[in-house]
Symmetry: none
Subunit: 92 residues, 2 copies
């Protein structure tokens, strides 16, 4: 059943928080919570949601950026890469 929120971070465990968060964000993208070419919430917003530091969120986001899952536009935001998931494409 429920297997929990999946959005819980464990501090002090074997897996760094930033890596746990990267997986949570990845899941949200694959689940379709955040769609291709749409911006993610800002780093600070995500930090507030999870109760962690902005720089820790930043590190997680950059993990996904390195993988091409998202792309970062300075002073604009972080966006879900197009074509990362076989959901629809363009409407607008």
């Amino acid at each position: 059943m429920e297997y929990g929120p999946d959005d819980d971070l464990i501090h002090g465990g074997p897996v760094p928080v930033y890596r746990q968060l990267a997986e949570i964000l990845r899941a949200r993208i694959e689940r379709g919570d955040w769609k291709p070419n749409r911006p993610l919430p800002g780093e600070q917003r995500i930090a507030d949601e999870f109760g962690i530091a902005r720089l820790t969120v930043r590190k997680a986001v950059h993990v996904l950026a390195d993988e091409g899952v998202v792309f970062v536009v300075p002073q604009r935001g972080t966006f879900v890469s197009p074509g990362d998931h076989p959901s629809e494409s363009g409407e607008e």
Copy 2:
């Protein structure tokens, strides 16, 4: 010309890495790579360049700060002290 990089750090040797690094940074300043009143690269950037931890860079920088070779401005950066070498001021 001269001898190479001189930028090699020896781990586990008799001289701590942070002291070796302090000497490398000092040499760069005296050589004029970094000029008076100009900022050094950030601690993290230097750490990346040498493949060491940021806190180790920090320790090296503070060795130079204690000597007055550089001065640190919180949240801004670390700057080469003025008048440390006869090649200062003003061009741009």
